[in-house]
Structures are given as structure tokens and as C-alpha cells.
């Protein structure tokens, strides 16, 4: 139960009451990210120790264990089994997180940059600049970033349209659309607060007011959008990898594809290789969920009633 005073103050982080951005959802998301980060570092360590000298067996792309038939179920030598091409699934799993991280990083960074720039300019300038930016962001919401990434990505080679390009193009489109709409709405609520008047009276110029007084209040909102956008970017990239359109030949999406193709080919002859599909789909879902959890957790910490676009 919150008291009257507390609930009235809730949306405004003011002196004496700090917003805490750490809640169960954010912590869970960070824990998953740490897990994948450790896994990424574990790969070279394993190559140097347990898998030392057996690169031909454990290489994520070219590895092949000639001693057994493939795909093989999880065992002591292959912790998550092997794929239909004889690759070690654990090695693929530990390695596939890298390009996915890059996609999420590129998408999140560009979403934050685009939405902070446009959102703060629109709210500070108002007038025709605001009219144009808000109509543009409404229009870009209609253009699903994921569909555009498919249009750009399917049919292009990995050198031409790899993880970085997927992340950036997704991020710019998502940033122009939903992210700018949300950050602009948050910036409008900042503009009417008393300290803005004080900053103007103090003789602050436009750039000083925006960077010192507006942007700091928008960082959490941009972070929410960056995280939720990164969720979509991870899924978009995985779908491209699933259609073997982009990403390295052994991404998470490719693992799901491997499993589904094998079980369709061998329907009724051999049981489906669940370990490949689960490792791939689990990797995608866990990583996407990590970004989504951080985004949703931050948003709830900010104020759930501002979750949407308070027009």
C-alpha cells in the first residue's frame, strides 16, 4: 500500500526519492546475459583445455566426429549431442551467441541514438519540427522493421549483409518508429516540469538545456526501447539465419533449421533430434527474453502508466 504522498510523487524522480531500476525482471535478464557472456568466453577456454588437439571434432563449423553416427544424442563426449552434419551442438551453441550479441548491440545502440535525438528535438522545438517528427514516427510504425530486414537480407550474402547490418537496419527503422514515438512522449512530460523554466531563466541555450536537462530524463525511456527493440532484432536475425540467408553457417536459427529438416526427412524412421532444435530455439528464446525482461523491468520501474504513448 502506498500512501497518498508517495503515489502522487511516483512518476517524478525528485530529490530525496531515487528511482531504483533493479527489480526481479531486470535481474533475471542480466543473469541470462551473464550466462551467455560466460559461455562465449568458455569456448576458447574449452578449445585450449578439454578439446585441445581435437579441433577437427569440436570446431563449430567444420568439426566431425568420425567415430559415431550423426545426429547423435547428448553424451559425455558431446554434451549436447551432434547435428546431422556431425558438428558438436554445444560448441555451436557456445559460439552462436557472438553474432547474436552483435546484432542486439547494433540494434539497441542505433535505437537509443535515433530516438534520443529525434525525441528530444521534437519535444524541445515543437512546431513544424515536432509535427514532422511525430508524423514520421507514426508512419514508420506502419513499416515493420522485421519485414524490411527480411526484404534486405534474404538473397544477400553474409559479407554483404551480416550481423552488423541486420542490427543497424533493424535499429534505425525501429528507432524511427515506436522508439521515437515513446521517447518523444516522455520528453513532452519533461518539458512542462518546473526546472525547465528555471533553466531558461538561467539563460541556458538550446543545446545546453537539451543535453543537461532533457536528455538525462530520457535515457531510461530510450533504454527500454533499445532493449525491447533488441528482442525483435534477435528474432529477426535468427529467422534470417533459419532461412540460411544471413549469419554464420552455424547460428541459432541454423540449428533449428537443421533439426527440423532432419526430423522431416526422417519422419517415421528416426526420432526427431530434439537436442539440436532445443539448443537452437532455447538459445534464441533465452537471449531474446533477456533483452525483453530488462526492457519490461525498466519500464515497470519507470512507471507502468507511461508504458504506452500518453497522448
Amino acid at each position: 500500500m502506498t500512501t497518498l504522498g508517495e503515489s502522487a510523487l511516483a512518476p517524478f524522480p525528485q530529490r530525496g526519492r531515487r528511482l531504483t531500476f533493479v527489480n526481479a525482471k531486470v535481474l533475471a535478464g542480466i543473469a541470462i546475459l551473464v550466462f551467455f557472456g560466460l559461455l562465449t568466453f568458455a569456448h576458447p577456454v574449452l578449445e585450449a583445455t578439454i578439446w585441445a588437439g581435437r579441433g577437427n571434432v569440436y570446431h563449430p563449423q567444420f568439426g566431425f566426429d568420425s567415430g559415431i553416427g550423426h545426429p547423435s544424442a547428448p553424451s559425455a563426449t558431446h554434451w549436447l549431442g551432434t547435428s546431422s552434419l556431425g558438428r558438436d551442438v554445444f560448441s555451436m551453441f557456445a559460439h552462436a551467441a557472438r553474432p547474436t550479441f552483435l546484432v542486439a548491440l547494433a540494434a539497441g545502440g542505433s535505437i537509443a541514438a535515433v530516438s534520443l535525438l529525434l525525441g528530444s528535438v521534437a519535444a524541445y522545438r515543437r512546431g513544424w519540427a515536432d509535427g514532422f517528427i511525430s508524423h514520421l514516427s507514426d508512419a514508420m510504425v506502419l513499416l515493420p522493421a522485421m519485414v524490411v530486414v527480411f526484404v534486405l537480407g534474404i538473397g544477400r550474402s553474409n559479407e554483404e549483409f551480416g550481423a552488423l547490418q541486420v542490427g543497424l537496419s533493424f535499429g534505425v527503422l525501429y528507432g524511427l518508429g515506436p522508439a521515437t514515438a515513446t521517447v518523444r512522449a516522455a520528453a513532452l512530460t519533461v518539458m512542462v516540469r518546473p526546472f525547465m523554466e528555471a533553466a531558461r531563466v538561467a539563460g541556458g541555450g538550446g543545446r545546453w538545456i537539451v543535453t543537461r536537462h532533457v536528455l538525462p530524463h530520457l535515457y531510461p525511456h530510450a533504454a527500454v526501447q533499445a532493449m525491447i527493440g533488441a528482442t525483435g532484432a534477435v528474432i529477426a536475425d535468427s529467422f534470417l539465419s533459419f532461412r540460411s540467408a544471413v549469419g554464420e553457417d552455424f547460428g541459432f536459427g541454423q540449428m533449428v533449421y537443421d533439426g527440423i529438416t532432419w526430423s522431416t526427412l526422417m519422419a517415421g524412421i528416426a526420432p526427431p533430434p530434439w537436442w539440436i532444435m532445443l539448443a537452437g530455439a532455447g538459445g534464441i528464446t533465452l537471449l531474446a527474453a533477456a533483452f525483453y525482461l530488462i526492457g519490461v523491468g525498466l519500464r515497470e520501474a519507470l512507471d507502468p502508466r507511461l508504458a504506452g504513448d500518453p497522448r
Binding site: 503515489s7 513499416l143 515493420p144 519490461v296 497522448r311
Partner: protein
């Protein structure tokens, strides 16, 4: 700053609020659509035609130039832009590289997509709203955790894997049910007239449109009846509104004598494809599963934030039932951010729905789009993206109207 004078505040409006509201929103929609179409045009013209010439390599010398000529790509950019916009104003989406009219291709695919997307979104929405509302109000720690995990899973699941699981576990039971209903296993019997081109014969296209329109009408009526039931605390009306109207539409279609045809279409992706993996029923399940989570999470957060407000205490103190406090007061306040947020998450959910539809091999818009991407058929890609944008505008108008009907403060003022 807005100047408030007594006259403008107190003058009684002469027209119902939704007339001016809708008029303003339509103007908004036109401006937004114009910007959207311009963005699509420049995106496709400037960015995409990277190597689309390769498909003409087999056509012999000159084939590429001919195709450029035919597609109007040799004209200056502003001329192409004017042609594109004027064509759209006449509802002309151009001609695909394969020679077919893009408009016809889309019209053929649209009823399937409309049926499963609209039904999937509405059902996913209702499920998510209900779980968020009821689940949060009487939550134990454990059920709260379970709901959160479910919601995050729904938002983060990899659609192709979901489709694989659905096909593996649900396809056989659905096909068994089809046989149990006595439908012929070879549905060509039903569509013989259409296949051999008999004049006046019933075609799948017509029946698909009939199903789509009947279902949209049933959902609209169902949602209105449901809102009425909620408002007047008629629990039975509220619970039975949607299933009742959907069942009513089904019975209506059956009584009109088209029952077997409609049912047959609900069980297969395409009458010519006997190998299709999916059925509209499966696609519906998949779309509900990927769309309910986001709604539920935002609804939960809203309910949690509102339950500490003072009006809740007031409501209880004046003797309202817990249900009335929850549904008529708290949920009404918690719903606005859900609605506003649902438009912003529209692109992500839409892309997920398209992946589900495509992976289930439904002959809908996503098949048209992904095939066009495969063949670098630029006019078709543009056509589908334009239609997706139109669907988005319609969705925005509906959510805005719902927000305004929930919250009188939103009824006046600019878009």
C-alpha cells in the same frame, strides 16, 4: 500554451464526439499514409534494387533493359514517384515481374490473412487482458511468477520452432476431427465446379471472403456485447459474448448451405496443395500464443500500479464488490496504456504473425511477400508492404477510438 476561455470550455458540443474525433483521425491517417508511402517508395527505389537484374540473365540480351523499361525504371525519379502515388490513388498496385496484377495477387491472398490475423489478434488480446486482469488481482507469488514467465516466453519464442511443435502435436488431431466430421478426404470433390471452370460455380476465393467478413462482423459484435456485459456486470453475457457470436456466425454460414465448403477451407491451406503443413486453425493457435504475452504483461503492470490508488479504497469503502472495483474501475484505468502500447508493438507482433503464417504454408500475404523477396519481384514486395501499412492504419484508428471511448479526456483535441 493553450488559452482557455470560459466560452470554449462550456459551450455544448453540437455533434457527437466521435464524429469530430473520427474526422480528425482520418486527416491524421491521410498525412501519415502519405509519409509512409513516400518512405516505402524511396526505400524500395534507392536501397533495394541491388542485384535484381540477375533474374533476367537467362532472358537473353536486352531482357534486363526491357524489364527496366516495362517497370518504368528508366524514367527520372520524380516521374516514377508521381506514377507510384497516382497509381495508388487509383488503387492500382502495378504489375509483377511475372506479369500478373499485384492487386489481384493480394486480393486472392488477403482473406486468409485477414481471417487469421484479426481473429488471432482479438483472441490473443482477450486472453492476455483477462489473464492480466484476473491473474494480477488475486495473485499468489507463484502464479504471478508463472504468468510473467509465460508472458515473456510468448514475446520471445522463436516462431518457426513454435510452428514445428504445433504441427507435430496438433496437426494429426485436427485432421482426425476433420474426418470425424464426415468431410471427404479429397476436397476436390467439393470444388469440382471451380476447378473445371464451370460458370457460376462456387470458388474458394468467394468462400474465403465470406468467412473473413462473417468472422470480422461476428468479432466486432462480440466485442461490443462483451463490453456492454462488463459495464453492466452481467458476468454470463461477458463470458459468452465472443464464443456466442462466433458460433452464431458459424451456424449462419452452415445454414446458408456453404458449411462443408467453409469447413473444408478451415482445414487446409489451399485446395490445390495437398501437402500444406498448416490449417487456419493451427495458424490461429500460433498467433494467439505469440500475441497474448505482451498484452498480459502491460496489463499486469498497469493493474499493479493502479491497485494502490485511493479510488480503490473509496470503492471498497462504499461497498462495491471486489469484482466491480477490479473490472469497472481499476481495469478501465489500466487498459489505456495497453491499448496505446499495442499500436507501438504492432510491427513486431505483425512480423511474428507473418512468420507463423509463412511457416505453416498458408497461401496468405506472407507467402506472397516471401516468394516475392525470393524472386526479387519489387512491385509485389511494395504492394504487400503498402497493404500491411493500410492494415496498420485501420488498427490505429480502432485502438484510438477504443481509448477515447474509455477515457473522455482523449475525445477532444488533435491527433
Amino acid at each position: 500554451m493553450q488559452v482557455i476561455n470560459a466560452e470554449s470550455v462550456w459551450r455544448r458540443p453540437r455533434v457527437p464526439w466521435f464524429v469530430t474525433f473520427l474526422a480528425l483521425r482520418l486527416v491524421w491517417a491521410l498525412i501519415t499514409l502519405f509519409l509512409f508511402l513516400t518512405a516505402v517508395f524511396f526505400f524500395m527505389q534507392v536501397w533495394v534494387p541491388y542485384s535484381w537484374a540477375t533474374q533476367f540473365l537467362l532472358g537473353g540480351p536486352g531482357a534486363f533493359e526491357q524489364a527496366r523499361e516495362a517497370a518504368g525504371l528508366t524514367q527520372p525519379l520524380h516521374q516514377q514517384y508521381a506514377d507510384f502515388m497516382l497509381g495508388l490513388a487509383r488503387a492500382d498496385l502495378g504489375t509483377s515481374f511475372g506479369g500478373a496484377s499485384v492487386g489481384d495477387m493480394i486480393l486472392e491472398a488477403l482473406p486468409i490473412t485477414l481471417t487469421i490475423f484479426i481473429a488471432g489478434t482479438v483472441i490473443g488480446w482477450v486472453v492476455g487482458e483477462m489473464l492480466g486482469r484476473v491473474g494480477t488481482w488475486s495473485s499468489h507469488r507463484l502464479s504471478g511468477l508463472a504468468l510473467s514467465v509465460l508472458g515473456v516466453l510468448s514475446a520471445a519464442i522463436f516462431p518457426p520452432f513454435l510452428v514445428y511443435v504445433l504441427v507435430r502435436w496438433l496437426r494429426e488431431p485436427i485432421l482426425d476431427a476433420r474426418q470425424a466430421m464426415g468431410l471427404p478426404s479429397d476436397s476436390l470433390e467439393l470444388w469440382r465446379g471451380a476447378v473445371i471452370g464451370e460458370p457460376g460455380a462456387l470458388t474458394p476465393g468467394e468462400v474465403r471472403w465470406l468467412i473473413a467478413l462473417a468472422m470480422v462482423a461476428a468479432l466486432a459484435v462480440g466485442l461490443i456485447v462483451r463490453a456492454y456485459g462488463r459495464r453492466h456486470q452481467l458476468a454470463v453475457v461477458e463470458a459468452l459474448a465472443l464464443p456466442g457470436t462466433l458460433l452464431g456466425a458459424g451456424v449462419g454460414i452452415w445454414l446458408s448451405g456453404l458449411g462443408p465448403h467453409a469447413l473444408d477451407l478451415l482445414y487446409r491451406a489451399d485446395i490445390s496443395a495437398s501437402t500444406g503443413r498448416g490449417t487456419p486453425a493451427l495458424a490461429l493457435v500460433g498467433i494467439v500464443l505469440i500475441s497474448f504475452g505482451q498484452v498480459m504483461l502491460v496489463m499486469r503492470a498497469g493493474m499493479e500500479a493502479e491497485r494502490g490508488e485511493d479510488y480503490v479504497l473509496t470503492g471498497r469503502a462504499k461497498g462495491l464488490t471486489e469484482r466491480a472495483v477490479r473490472d469497472r474501475h481499476v481495469a478501465r484505468n489500466a487498459l489505456a496504456p495497453v491499448l496505446a502500447g499495442s499500436f507501438l508493438s504492432f510491427p513486431t507482433v505483425l512480423a511474428g504473425m507473418m512468420i507463423v503464417e509463412y511457416e505453416l504454408e498458408m497461401q496468405g500475404l506472407s507467402s506472397v511477400l516471401f516468394d516475392a523477396i525470393e524472386f526479387q519481384d519489387i512491385p509485389v514486395i511494395m504492394g504487400v508492404i503498402v497493404v500491411l501499412g493500410l492494415m496498420g492504419v485501420g488498427f490505429r484508428l480502432l485502438t484510438d477510438l477504443t481509448i477515447a471511448s474509455l477515457d473522455p479526456r482523449q475525445r477532444h483535441g488533435r491527433a
